[in-house]
């Protein structure tokens, strides 16, 4: 199937978005035509608002996500490696895992105030749990024979951990990170809605409250597109990173 035919429904949706408000099938104030939203997006870009708020969002997202990935992977592998740590930490992780992560935001507001720290902490805790569990499952699932042979070949425990267990657990860890990536966007945008101050989520709700709906739609489209692209780029990178397994 050619790309055009494959993506025709998206074009159709765009066309509908343009035509429906222009033909007054829907109120243009509730749904500004796509071209007007594009113009509003351009204006946001030129004014620098998009760059400033986008940068703030990006930094908070990366800080929370990277912290979650590093600490989550370490904790998950340690849990799989040491029975005592597993016994101690696993019940807590299992108790916290089903908690709707959005409930953390008001608590972080009390502890860390109305600023970047609260947003980063919410993203960090939200991302931590899926990464811990995937690293744990990945490391637990490593073929015992691999570990035994590495030991028999004289590898130290540290070498076994870094060169056998981590690479073998990598596919599961990377899948967990993909979940964490999706969660990090949810927590980022919602904490920006609720805490405000900075970020694309704040920009969107600020524009919405001011009645600048064309610009608000432009902001929403930006966040949606960035979230989508981040997932696609991550998938590409993940496939590249796992090529050695084939």
């Amino acid at each position: 199937m050619s790309a055009l035919r494959r993506y025709a429904p998206l074009l159709l949706l765009a066309l509908l978005w343009e035509a429906a408000p222009r033909l007054h099938l829907v109120d243009p104030r509730s749904l500004p035509p796509m071209s007007e939203v594009a113009v509003a997006w351009w204006r946001l870009l030129i004014s620098g608002d998009l760059a400033t708020e986008g940068l703030s969002s990006l930094l908070n997202l990366l800080a929370g996500l990277l912290l979650g990935i590093v600490i989550g992977t370490a904790l998950g592998v340690l849990m799989a490696w040491y029975r005592a740590i597993d016994d101690l930490v696993h019940p807590l992780i299992r108790a916290l895992y089903p908690m709707p992560k959005s409930a953390l935001i008001p608590v972080m507001m009390i502890w860390l105030g109305l600023g970047a720290a609260s947003k980063i902490a919410s993203i960090f805790i939200g991302c931590l749990l899926p990464v811990v569990l995937s690293a744990y499952n990945g490391a637990r699932g490593v073929d015992r024979v691999l570990i035994w042979s590495a030991r028999a070949a004289g590898a130290s425990p540290r070498e076994v951990l870094w060169e056998v267990v981590l690479p073998a657990a990598m596919p599961e860890i990377l899948a967990g990170v993909r979940n964490a990536l999706a969660l990090s966007f949810i927590l980022l945008v919602s904490s920006e809605f609720i805490i405000g101050q900075h970020g694309l989520g704040y920009l969107i709700s600020f524009l919405g409250e001011g009645g600048a709906y064309d610009a608000m739609f432009a902001g929403v489209a930006t966040v949606a597109a960035v979230g989508f692209l981040a997932d696609r780029l991550y998938l590409l990178a993940m496939r590249k990173a796992l090529l050695w397994r084939e």
Binding site: Y7, L10, D87, L88, I204, M216, V223
Partner: protein, 261 residues
């Protein structure tokens, strides 16, 4: 292998140690005023608050509101998601139409659309429920489409060979065979529904557990905020557990139940 029969008491103690220590530390640190009562109200204060809110009826009301919004949105997502998923797997035109929309929609942060839902549907239940459904529908569609497509061809062929009509084929062969995977999609969607319901309440107000938490936060009522966190965490765990139970009940006939998952 863990022992299935008698439980090792030492291990049980170790397994509950960290949670107990954390709860004790919470109470101790608060009592010793290491943190101000605003930063960390003691565990007992929070529990008292939960008990009080239960007595006044505020907590049960909010819990019911949140569950109503989350579960109705989830039910909408489940019904639409399964229908669209089956269509994608079985109807050429539907696949052409929905496939690109779903592959764009699935990884998109749907929560960003919240202000648009407010603009279109207002700030009341309707808007919250639709927001929940919109956020939760994509994993259901994807799981259903993949599951229906991967139903063993032999099953379909034998049923067709025996003269089964298309409709019965769908209801009695394809859907039951796809059911475990569809259920997995629903198990992904349910926590999303609760997360989004709470967020929508925080943003739009209108009580519910999320709305109460924001209200408490605005009035610097930190026991209220912590009580909200505890209530939401318990509600979340209960829903996830309930879903696992339902899965086991509904899939008694399936091989995975025998395998002891």
């Amino acid at each position: 292998m863990e022992r299935i029969g008698g439980i090792d008491p030492a291990r049980l103690l170790r397994r509950s140690a960290l949670i107990l220590i954390l709860l004790l530390a919470w109470e101790g640190l608060a009592r010793l005023h290491v943190f101000t009562p605003f930063l960390l109200p003691s565990l007992t204060t929070v529990l008292e608050r939960l008990a009080k809110d239960t007595m006044t009826g505020q907590l049960p009301l909010s819990l019911a509101l949140t569950l109503y919004r989350a579960l109705l949105g989830f039910a909408l997502a489940a019904a639409c998601g399964v229908a669209v998923g089956v269509l994608i797997a079985r109807v050429r035109f539907a696949r052409w139409l929905f496939d690109p929309l779903v592959s764009v929609g699935l990884p998109m942060p749907k929560i960003a659309f919240l202000p648009i839902f407010v603009l279109w549907f207002g700030v009341f239940d309707e808007s919250k429920i639709l927001m929940v459904a919109f956020s939760a529908v994509f994993p259901v569609i994807v799981a259903t489409a993949a599951a229906t497509e991967n139903v063993e061809k032999v099953l379909i062929w034998s049923a067709r060979g025996l003269g089964t009509g298309e409709r019965r084929l769908l209801w009695e062969i394809a859907l039951p065979a796809a059911f475990p995977q569809i259920m997995t999609g629903l198990q992904v969607a349910l926590p999303i529904a609760l997360i989004v319901a709470v967020l929508a309440e925080m943003q739009m107000g209108g009580q519910g557990l999320g709305g109460d938490m924001m209200q408490a936060s605005r009035f610097a009522d930190s026991p209220g905020v912590f009580a909200g966190l505890v209530a939401i965490a318990i509600a979340g765990s209960a829903l996830v557990k309930a879903m696992e139970l339902i899965r086991r009940r509904l899939l008694v006939w399936h091989a995975e139940a025998e395998a002891g998952y």
